[in-house]
Point group: C2
Chain length 427, copies 2
């Protein structure tokens, strides 16, 4: 690849980030009346009015603004935005009695769902650690450590390892099936890895390092498919594969049929998730100062599966999901998978030097820029047909927000710059 090609992509991303994506948020997300963020916008960027503030959307927003500030954007305004979000999170979502953050409030800050959902707690650790790294405000890491301690006390499964994921307000375990108390997921454990990475980056505490290493081992040895290295979405407590079901408290608009049943519920993997896992693991190893060789086989499997089966060479972008062996089940295009494979394919290209990864990156980059970005307002469409026609049209709700999109662009620019630097290194 040439300097010109890298520069062209960097420039395109930079314009999108600074002229479209960040302004979309900075101009409309502050709730000046109640504190925190308004997180529901329609395709025109208008407040769509849902009276809820979810732990996910508030924490992901804080992460977005803090990390973009740390990456050098916003000239201080993003740090201020992050602080505004942290104020709300600590004042209105923290449970003083039992510890941990509530799952949902209304806009005013009244608690709508007081459950302790580990998915949400992991994002609290992630964003609060990032916030302290970005701003130096010690409140962030204080609460991040506090949540970490609560998870170790209440959420670990000392029989089979890993973490239980769904709790009542008082940290007693939820019921089974849709209550989620009898299951463990790839999603939660991957996001704990992501959260513990940034926690450890901030504290450099041996305990945080050890728990990060433990969750990595668990992910690679138990949660990834033993043959294909692809992610298995759901397990029973003892790590037997469980059929994928829809939980009462969901953290995303999962792709279920209307009756909540999953097609191929026991042989299903997400290309975007697998590549996200790989680049988050690579980042974790870098923060741990460990070589990627430790998990080389895992990286090869994650990236090869996605590039061989997940990329749509005909219409661009990456498919939703398919079987572990490779057959594609769902050819639509969801926003977050595009966001994650942009980062991951650049990592794969830098790691292995294989042109296929650059081609895959370029393919998804073009699909995103040409189809997925709703340039009339600046954010991304949530879901499109294979060909790139919007199916869902909201710009944001509790499960979409800006963490995937902004992080993708910030991290892709960083990787493109690193590739350029590699190219120009004296040999």
């Amino acid at each position: 690849m040439t300097n010109e090609v890298f520069d062209q992509h960097i420039q395109e991303l930079h314009v999108h980030l600074t002229n479209e994506l960040l302004p979309f948020w900075t101009t409309r997300t502050v709730d000046a009346v109640n504190g925190g963020f308004i997180t529901h916008f329609d395709q025109y960027g208008n407040d769509s009015g849902e009276d809820e503030k979810s732990l996910i959307a508030q924490t992901r927003s804080i992460y977005t603004y803090a990390s973009a500030h740390r990456a050098g954007y916003g000239e201080g305004t993003l740090a201020e935005l992050a602080r505004h979000g942290v104020d709300y999170l600590l004042n209105s979502m923290w449970d003083e009695e039992y510890g941990g953050f509530y799952w949902m409030t209304n806009r005013k800050g009244e608690v709508l769902n007081d459950q302790k959902i580990v998915y949400g707690q992991s994002f609290a650790i992630y964003c609060l650690s990032e916030y302290t790294l970005a701003t130096g405000d010690p409140r962030g890491i204080k609460y991040a450590r506090n949540v970490f301690d609560l998870l170790q006390k209440h959420a670990t499964d000392t029989t089979y390892g890993g973490y239980f994921e769904m709790f009542h307000r008082d940290w007693t375990l939820n019921g089974p099936e849709a209550g989620g108390g009898d299951r463990k997921t790839l999603d939660v454990h991957m996001h704990l890895m992501e959260a513990f990475t940034t926690l450890y980056e901030c504290t450099r505490q041996p305990l945080h390092r050890r728990k990060l290493l433990e969750v990595i081992e668990l992910l690679v040895k138990r949660i990834m498919h033993p043959v294909y290295g692809t992610g298995i979405p759901q397990f029973w407590a003892d790590w037997q594969v469980a059929p994928q079901i829809k939980f009462d408290v969901i953290w995303g608009w999962d792709r279920f049929t209307e009756d909540g049943v999953k097609r191929a519920a026991e042989d299903n993997t997400s290309y975007g998730h697998n590549v996200e896992f790989a680049w988050l693991l690579l980042h974790a190893l870098s923060v741990l100062n460990l070589t990627y060789d430790l998990y080389r086989d895992q990286f090869v499997k994650s990236f090869v599966h996605a590039v061989e089966h997940g990329v749509d060479w005909a219409f661009g972008g990456v498919f939703v999901e398919g079987s572990h062996a490779g057959e594609v089940y769902d050819r639509e295009k969801e926003f977050w998978q595009q966001a994650e494979v942009l980062i991951g394919f650049l990592d794969a290209y830098r790691l292995f030097g294989d042109e296929r990864y650059w081609q895959a990156y370029e393919n998804v980059h073009r699909f995103v820029m040409d189809k997925m970005v709703n340039h009339s307002v600046g954010e991304w469409w949530p879901l499109m047909t294979r060909q790139g026609i919007p199916i869902w049209t909201h710009m944001s709700h509790s499960w979409k927000i800006n963490y995937h999109t902004v992080r993708s662009v910030v991290q892709s620019i960083r990787r493109l710059n690193a590739l350029k630097a590699d190219l120009n290194k004296p040999r």
Copy 2:
């Protein structure tokens, strides 16, 4: 069995407990100068002078006095003795900086070994919970809960389940091999079950119940031999069986050859330990208000293995250890195995009504009363030949003390009374 036979055994144990065993301790263990307990006595009951106070001996002493008080002995003097021990434990062995109890001080209370050894922490939870149950002093349960929380935070293995066992003062994990940081043991997990049982009995907290249930599942499903139901002493972190080695910090006078090597290091089980496990599990289920049927198969295996292979029908008492399949390796008689099978065989007899268990109880009871008790001072010999000639002769040191002997007699009397009550129940 008849009322007379039960009464005769009860009477014999009662005399031993109140005229020999408890007076041995109440007359000589208080360290009036430095606080806490003197725990080293020779065969004549004289202070043998070792300048050490181990976490094990101090906590086990507290347990002994508190539990005997709760069982109705001592007319208040034993509660006072327990309080005296708790004062020393909290004032001189608690680490204010990192939390947890040090492993060893000298008699004055200066720290000799500041490591955090889970075996010792488990006895702290056990004795402090028992102490609050016995006396109502809230200091006990406050510190017990604190140690429990520290274990959940620092000691759990979130990759494979269970607990790591050997830590530096600051709760960073010890090195491998003799450092013990890479191994897990039956011993520690069984004593955590014992400790969490009494913790839960005292607090009735759902979290303490859940962690007790988790360690029970782990013990029955992973730590006990899949075929024989016998205890496997040591494992690697991932629950593969590890050859039994001697650790730098030991908690008992383990039966190793002089070069620290174990004969049959990978096929070795202790009859006394297996029966102790079974009755502790039965007690745990009772405190949890669960039926023993949940683990009926485990109980059958534990008790049958011991009664068929462990009991010495020729010379009396129970052997030290042998293979999982049944071959006896070591026919000597150690004190603590006798103590534990007395309780366990009474439980087995009550549970299954099989006369073999009564005969086994009677056999060991006679061996203990006729051979193992050093009646000239009142405590038990630590180790005897198969025929009942003392090999080791100390009455107490850091790893012997009075927890096995006093608990055995108190619990055996309780069970004999229950058997008698069963007998006299209207049909």
